[in-house]
């Protein structure tokens, strides 16, 4: 069966510091991968998605970036965090295809002080 991991689970970082969040998927090959952010107030916002190694699509321009160095690894990064980057970051995967179910990881709660 497939599993999705995210780490760290929680993170407190000062403004201006770098960020690296990691997501890995097990038990499947060539998945679509996604990064979402959930700010206080419930809504989920898609940040990036990837259909293959090195292929990243950005949905929202900001100071975050994403990379996919391996088939089942998706990394969210920032060179300098802003206060507004605080939130709950969720990684998800789906089988390759437009109509497939997305499955979410446990999330990383980021607080920028």
């Amino acid at each position: 069966s497939q599993t999705i991991h995210q780490w760290p689970a929680t993170l407190v970082q000062p403004v201006g510091s770098p960020l690296s969040l990691e997501c890995t998927v097990e038990g499947t090959s060539n998945p679509n991968l996604y990064w979402y952010r959930q700010a206080a107030g419930r809504g989920l916002q898609l940040l990036f998605y990837s259909v293959g190694i090195g292929q990243i699509s950005s949905e929202v321009p900001q100071n975050l970036s994403a990379s996919r160095p391996q088939d089942r690894q998706f990394i969210l990064s920032s060179k300098k965090l802003l206060l507004s980057d605080s939130g709950f970051y969720l990684c998800a995967w789906s089988l390759a295809g437009l109509r497939d179910t997305q499955y979410f990881g446990p999330g990383t709660r980021l607080t920028v002080l």
Partner: protein, 109 residues
């Protein structure tokens, strides 16, 4: 882009009550999912239901694609049903989910 509206935004129930959550969407969809976000933040898949009706235990869902809405039914609610319920859709031709703002459900003992 496609708009997704969920109602009600908040719902308080006594344990054992039934409820219906609604999701309206503004365009045709080729993917519709219902999720439950538990108090720890985990998003749990409930249904993949771009059309038709499905049931899983005390939960069931119906999507009427031609009328652009979906309903999630919770019967005999339990305190563990508390959390936020999200509807999310994929518009034709795109692979990314658009989420509604959710319905926050609190089931009291």
């Amino acid at each position: 882009g496609i708009q997704v509206e969920q109602s009600p935004p908040d719902l308080i129930l006594q344990e054992g009550a039934n409820s219906t959550l609604r999701c309206n969407f503004s365009d045709s969809v080729n993917n519709l999912q219902w999720f439950h976000q538990n108090p720890w933040g985990q998003l749990i898949n409930l249904f993949y239901i771009p059309s038709g009706t499905k049931q899983n235990g005390r939960l069931s869902a119906t999507t009427v694609a031609t009328e652009r809405y979906s309903l999630l039914y919770i019967s005999s609610s339990q305190t563990t049903d508390s959390g936020v319920y999200f509807c999310a859709v994929t518009n034709s031709g795109y692979s990314t989910l658009t989420f509604g703002k959710g319905t926050m459900l609190l089931v009291s003992p």
